[in-house]
């Protein structure tokens, strides 16, 4: 074993960073044995230097992250600050000054992954980010290494713990969205400003990263269709139950049937209770991967939290350190397939649509005609009437999003349709 230690600069010492520092200390001997050399915490960059940080030598703490990454003697920079800047500039500077980088920053990787990978490659360094998607669950490494000899066709996952907690609450207690969100906030599962989670931005960033790796194609954040889950109602859950389904916020990355293009999207969807993702409870994450040869694989575990996320960061740290010792680099960006990313209109799936309609004869025929005119084939219809009001619940066969949208627009213009109460996709069948 080499005795000269590898030097690690930790950028950020919050929820994740403090756990990374703790485990680096408590598991120092194991890490050294697994890497083949000791690793030393050489500096910790934070915003508030005065804050007491248990187990961290105050002499290592600095507010000058830039100077830290430019020191020149740093082997690995661990970026757990989050956000776009200064993380992006710091990571780029790290590569230029000879360090490899481990990051947990999904927002940055989804937005600027290509440029960061290019900077890593130019400087012959590693960029690893297992922790950026689904916390502790090994997902990036299985996708880009274990399945490197296979053809992935679909990735379907629950990749945001906050929204899964809320939806699970709504499902199990009949609570409305706001009530479930309040509970999630009180228990620390939702942040004070939950927008990034409940509007699907966080899941969309992860979908972009997963699609890119799965399809060997650059998928930018803007390529991901995104719909939040704030409008899911208790009534939607009741409808889902009637269909033997529950509702999850899903990230779905798919290769088109002809293999010539891909799509990535995030939205709430009904999935059958028999689907393994339906039983993912609380803040847990799980990701289904379908490939040509392997078939269906599922990966399940805690998608967030300081210590699970630190586990993923440290796994990357060991790999990057080992690469450094052997003078090699791990797999970089693989975007050779360069498949076009199709717009949402091209996505083909099934739909569950609730309509408020006039309670008079002929309405069903009128509605059915509109579906037929738009080439959307109906699987089942259920009519319910009460007090002169009636509702129609239509479940379609597979149709394109464009065709469905055309159908809904035409339905809205019918006199007999008072309103479209809800539209939800049906997945996982």
């Amino acid at each position: 074993m080499r005795t000269r230690p590898l030097k690690v600069a930790l950028l950020g010492c919050g929820v994740v960073g403090s756990e990374v520092a703790r485990i680096m200390t408590t598991h120092a001997d194991d890490l050294a044995a697994r890497i083949g050399a000791p690793v030393e915490l050489a500096g910790v960059a934070v915003r508030r230097p005065g804050k007491v940080r248990e187990g961290i030598d105050p002499a290592l703490v600095t507010t000058d992250a830039t100077a830290l990454v430019k020191r020149g003697d740093i082997d690995v920079v661990v970026e757990v600050i989050g956000g776009i800047e200064p993380a992006r500039t710091l990571i780029t500077a790290a590569f230029e000054h000879g360090a490899s980088v481990v990051s947990a920053n999904k927002a940055l990787l989804a937005q600027d992954g290509a440029a960061l990978h290019a900077a890593a490659e130019e400087n012959g360094k590693d960029l690893y980010y297992e922790a950026a998607v689904a916390g502790a669950i090994p997902l990036i490494r299985p996708l880009r290494e274990s399945l490197a000899g296979d053809k992935v066709n679909r990735v379907l996952g629950i990749v945001n713990g906050t929204t899964n907690f809320i939806l699970d609450k709504m499902d199990s207690t009949g609570a409305g969205y706001q009530e479930a969100l309040d509970e999630a906030t009180a228990l620390g599962y939702a942040e004070a400003d939950p927008t990034a989670d409940v509007e699907g931005f966080d899941a969309a960033a992860k979908a972009a990263i997963l699609a890119g790796i799965a399809f060997h194609t650059r998928v930018r954040l803007d390529d991901v269709y995104r719909e939040g889950m704030t409008e899911v109602t208790a009534a939607d859950f009741a409808s889902a139950k009637e269909m033997g389904c529950t509702i999850k916020l899903l990230a779905i990355c798919e290769r088109a049937a002809d293999g010539a293009s891909v799509t990535a999207r995030v939205h709430p969807a009904m999935i059958p209770l028999s689907h393994p993702l339906a039983s993912v409870r609380g803040a847990y994450n799980a990701v289904f991967v379908e490939s040509d040869a392997a078939g269906q694989l599922m990966f399940y575990g805690p998608g967030a939290g300081g210590s699970p996320t630190a586990s993923a960061v440290l796994g990357d740290l060991v790999a990057v350190c080992r690469n450094r010792l052997s003078g090699a680099t791990g797999p970089g960006e693989s975007a050779y397939a360069a498949l076009p990313v199709s717009p949402m209109g091209d996505v083909v799936t099934r739909y569950h649509i609730s309509l408020d309609v006039a309670d008079k004869p002929g309405v069903l025929a009128q509605v059915a005609t509109v579906f037929a005119e738009h080439g959307v084939s109906i699987d089942t219809v259920r009519q319910q009437g009460k007090d002169g009001e009636a509702s129609l619940v239509v479940v379609t066969h597979r149709a394109s999003d464009a065709a469905l949208n055309g159908t809904v627009e035409a339905l809205r213009s019918l006199d007999t349709v008072r309103g479209v109460a809800s539209i939800m996709r049906v997945e996982g069948e």
Copy 2:
């Protein structure tokens, strides 16, 4: 991209090998892009040269596997013959003649993993074997790389598809063991001689491999306690149901509470229906991993079959080829922790015991005294009497296997105990 191809020798072209060859051909461009150089099938060793093999150039086929691995121009040897010899000699010769090795051979790795790893290291070559455990499910790579910065405490898994198929059948249809086995055989899920599967030898080999990687300790096949599932009865399933459980053949690798030793075992066990492993159906495999920082992770997928297993082999092939191009090797054996492997007697778990007893007063008191004398604390007892016969079902708190065995021996010597109908461990709580 390098244009000179990497040369692959395929040893064995059966269920797995033929799929490896097929995918190497159909996905040649993708593999080349992902590796950075084309891969070429340079030779295929089989036993029966005359057999027609679709898609395989007959000029490549040979019965002289030894000459093939010794050619000197082979970059990677893929060993999918199975069994101990000639696989072991061929793999060793491959390293000595400059090749790296990808193998799916759990029996060989469990028996001689240490020697093979040593041969790989001596020659500066890679030995990868993701396919040896749980087929297509990425498990070796996540354990040895993703969790390299964490401390794994427990691996609990269904790693044999044949026995899971049989037990699932017994559970869902009430069939007995023989009937379920016959169906598994008819459907091709069980081999003509099912011994390796139903007696737990296959699972034990996988447990040895998993324990070794998880605990950075050499665990030999002989270190694994093994009990098959041929004696599981319909009555056991009925008892399990009464407890809200089902029965699975589990491979369990555990670090002792004090962290100073490990155990590995394979046996049928009751697990609660609420446990994710309880809902693993048919021939699927799933493995639960518990670690300090990551918490609970689960990996699920097809544990066997030509094409899923080939997916795992090809993932390794890509990694090994990439390593070759960069002049590096991946993580080798990690056995630095060298923890002692404790005998089965030291394993601590819960037990479900059915006793046939005389239907007279005082029997329960007698039985309870025996448990107490051996330090085994009782959780629940259920008495059932009919026609002068009675049965007692005892569920214990956690106790050592040694204490339980002592208890059972003493129970057998009681006049009032006519027989011990079944003893089953209760796991996953």
